[in-house]
Amino acid sequence: MSQADETQTVDQDGVIESVSGPVVTAADLDARMNDVVYVGDEGLMGEVIEIEGNLTTIQVYEETSGVGPGEPVENTGEPLSVDLGPGMLDTIYDGVQRPLDELEEKMNSAFLDRGVDAPGIDVEKQWEFTPTVSEGDSVEPGDIIGEVPETASITHKVMVPPDFEGGEITSIEAGDFTVEEPVAELSSGEDVTMHQEWPVRQARPAAEKRTPTVPLQSGQRIQDGLFPIAKGGTAAIPGPFGSGKTVTQHQLAKWSDADIVVYVGCGERGNEMTEVIEDFPNLEDPMTGKPLMSRTCLIANTSNMPVAARESCIYTGITIAEYFRDMGYDVALMADSTSRWAEAMREISSRLEEMPGEEGYPAYLAAALSEFYERAGLFENVNGTEGSVTAIGAVSPPGGDFSEPVTQNTLRIVKTFWALDADLAERRHFPSINWNESYSLYRQQLDPWFVENVAEDWPEVRQWAIDVLDEEDELQEIVQLVGKDALPEDQQLTLEVARYLREAWLQQDAFHDVDTYCEPTKTYRMLQAIKTFNDEAFDALDAGVPVEEIQSVDAAPRLNRMGTADEWSEFIDELETNLAEQIRELY
């Protein structure tokens, strides 16, 4: 069941027995698990989540105030599904794929009313369809049969639905069609339209999962430089409130080199979604120069929207992501925050009086999380194309304590861990990704790409940076006891180099026009410049120059300006020359 089918009145298939918040039980309803039902006189949308004897338990995706026993329940007989087809990009949906702009219009209000349906894709709009196969060609489920220019940057591929039989094409034609009109007929008797439906809780099929070897370039120095993620990889961003999870996700949605971005605002702030809607149309994709919004699909279940739709919004998002993957695209899915999703599961579970697991979360929490992240990956699709879904989930641990169940269960699954740190955030060191705690298990498998595309000595230079930061960490403990000036000169110099690594390289201002995006080559060149300072400085120290003199060369603090400089390449060239000259002048 999906939104494209409009239902007007509610048939009485069953009767409400009781109502408690988002959980309603109904009697006499003949339903299967996960069937979508319409509840009460207003026809609120819900989903069957438990069946016990004659009683069916339903989670309702809308507010239930005023709904009472005796009201009707109608079963659609179909599971919760999304509408797939052209028109999903440059759109914002709620957790059950109702377009929010459409809802505003239908409800004629800025506030979300209930009992209003709207299809996930526009059923009236005409799209320009161009076939890529001909009559007589034989096609299988999943095969691409034509193209539609969906937005400025994305060509939508029209595919034979995975649950079709397939066969020979008996008729296909170019032209303008709505998503409901057949664009091709098959010998099997099946008509292919541009509209598919897919149940959200079921992964779309793929031929094979492969090992990813290409990074999702993030445009963020600490991520590309130290903790890269692969296209088709998984990552978690845990951190206490205000540490920068959302800004990090927004940065990836803006600057990463994914083809498609699916951004799920799960139980977070309304204004953060508004910010995306207002900003993205005016930002350019650094790869294509096209407005960012034209590659983006937003799904919003804000913290004050019904909690059951929070549980479903993650599935809605990943299903849309898989659909674009099937076309051969690299899709990045951000989920902010998976903790709210887990809490929604907990709330529903406790209303069902299920036996709670750790900290009240349902016992299936770990399974639900791993099922979700398993749907990410680099895939050979059933139609032979290669596509990927990269899944990046924010985690909001209570009290910022990473030992809680959602963080821990997530860490067991994901391969990239960007640990946000309240202490760094307090001193406005952003992104506040802690370089000692974070890791990426993709480093080795992505190194060949960096070596080939960025710099031959990428792995070595990165290792140098890691070593310096590690050494700083150890030295800081001594400094805390005796002060910096009590250290030997070479160690003082190491601290100075580490400071530049932190302040000039790791730190990156998301709100600075230039600094907000840093391509991998710039990330490398900036690091090289700091290494130049390091190498020249240690040579000078060996030659007997006092450390204060080395530190106070004019060029050194200019390292801090590399990120924000307009012409970064020229700036860094000049800076490296000046550093070498000025330090060599000292001896």
Partner: protein, 468 residues
């Protein structure tokens, strides 16, 4: 309207009654005690034949002979512009001896969620006149920015100062707009309430205020309704009558205690530290009722106040709040005992909407950089204080000593200002530059070189050194 005398169980704030016709979830209930007193409640769970009711005033006086009436509607707030200037109790009934309220509309108090598509991103700078807020944690129209405080700290003084001083500097020629203030008190003491009322009366603010009073000795369950009445009124004034509304809710901690009490009475599986598992969602339903809408002139800005039990910001109340609100202003006990007024600790404080509300054309071009640099400088100075305790000032480099001085001056001159000083943003930034000019120029790596050239003043630094 049917009347029942079918109460089967009374437990804590809850009453269970048998019914023979369906009753809607969340509907309002009136219970008449044998003594003739009328209490109000709300349906918490409705099933065939049985409902559980949460009674706002508490269940004292109810027995099994009490009669129960279901009003067939969810709770409504009668709204009208005439509410301005009025004082109501925690359930919305006038307690100021004034005339009956003639409502223009009756609105559901469980406000519907704002469609994120219909919002307008808040970015209009509100000048509160408080440097630690304007300079470092800027408030904007439509933001929800709580004060995280502790018991005995002067959060009320700060809240009142903001309510008195908040203005939105308008383009020349336009009049400055004043805020309408909605004050929602939940479980505060009479003394605290007087503090607010006296100030409102003294400054004439009462005329453009609506006050909702649930005091410490008022029923706890009523506290779950008070903020919803306040916010419904705020939304009405903002989005139907074009007011810029400032909502002060205090104390959220008492609100959460009431939630916990109800949860316990319902024998729910408790979440962290006994608070209900749905407290995040519940709080979000309050805090998210702030903001701006496309095509509407008004706005709802929220300043909720909460006292952190044990000054612990990982406690579920501040923790869940911080995860929902757009930052927080944190009051600090040490600064308070040093006599700093207001004792705002800027390091854990944050305004997430600051970046879009400041800068060229809004406040001043250098604002963001100055703020970042002061954060970094103050954090560094703070770190060094620990070290000084061990090794002494002499063992530190000249650079480190400058940062120590910076941290001291930052507290004594920038944060400290008293509750009656109203600083313009120019003054605030001016003080910032005075302090930053004491640091070596090349240390100001967060500030654009253009701004350093414009605002950094070396001569004063030299004077300061001579004066020492």
């Amino acid at each position: 309207m049917k009347e029942y005398q079918t109460i089967t169980e009374i437990s804590g704030p809850l009453v269970f009654a048998e019914v023979d016709e369906p009753v809607g979830y969340d509907e309002i209930v009136e219970i008449e005690t044998p003594q003739g007193e009328t209490l109000r409640g709300q349906v918490l769970e409705s099933s065939e034949g049985l409902v559980s009711i949460q009674v706002f005033e508490g269940t004292g006086g109810i027995d099994r002979n009490a009669s129960v009436r279901f009003l067939g509607e969810t709770m409504k707030m009668p709204v009208t512009e005439d509410l301005l200037g009025r004082v109501l109790d925690g359930s919305g009934r006038p307690i100021d001896g004034g005339p009956e309220i003639v409502p223009e509309e009756r609105q559901d108090i469980v406000g519907a969620a704002i469609n994120p598509y219909s919002r307008e991103y808040p970015e209009e700078f509100i000048q509160t006149g408080v440097s630690s807020i304007d300079g470092m944690n800027t408030l904007v129209r439509g933001q929800k920015l709580p004060i995280f405080s502790g018991s005995g700290l002067p959060h009320n003084d700060l809240a009142l100062q903001i309510a008195r001083q908040a203005t939105v500097p308008e383009e020349e020629g336009d009049e400055e707009t004043e805020f309408a203030v909605i004050f929602g008190a939940m479980g505060i003491t009479q003394e605290e309430a007087n503090e607010f009322m006296d100030d409102f009366e003294r400054t004439g603010a009462l005329e453009r205020s609506v006050v909702f009073m649930n005091l410490a000795d008022d029923p706890a369950v009523e506290r779950t309704v008070t903020p919803r009445l306040a916010l419904t009124t705020a939304e009405y004034l903002a989005f139907e009558k074009d007011y810029h509304v400032l909502v002060i809710l205090t104390d959220i901690t008492n609100y959460c205690e009431a939630l916990r009490e109800i949860g316990a009475a319902r024998e729910e599986v408790p979440g962290r530290r006994g608070y209900p598992g749905y407290m995040y969602t519940d709080l979000a339903q309050l805090y998210e009722r702030a903001g701006r809408l496309k095509d509407r002139d008004g706005s709802v800005t929220q300043i909720p106040i909460l006292t952190m039990p044990g000054d612990d910001d990982t406690h579920p109340i501040p923790d869940l709040t911080g995860y929902i609100t757009e930052g927080q202003i944190v009051m600090d006990r040490d600064l308070h005992s040093q006599g700093i007024e207001p004792p705002v600790n800027v390091l854990p404080s944050l305004s997430r909407l600051m970046d879009d509300g400041i800068g060229e054309g809004l406040t001043r071009g250098d604002h963001g950089d100055v703020s970042d640099q002061m954060y970094a400088g103050y954090a560094e100075g703070e770190d060094l204080r620990d070290l000084v305790n061990i090794v002494g000032r002499e063992a530190l480099s000249e650079r480190d000593n400058k940062f120590l001085d910076f941290a001291d001056r930052f507290e004594a001159e920038f944060v400290e200002q008293g509750y009656d000083t109203n600083r313009t943003i120019e003054e605030t930034l001016g003080i910032g530059w005075d302090l930053l000019s004491d640091l070596p120029k090349e240390e100001l790596n967060r500030i654009d070189e253009e701004f350093i050239a414009e605002y950094y003043h070396e001569d004063e630094e030299a004077e300061a050194v001579q004066a020492d």
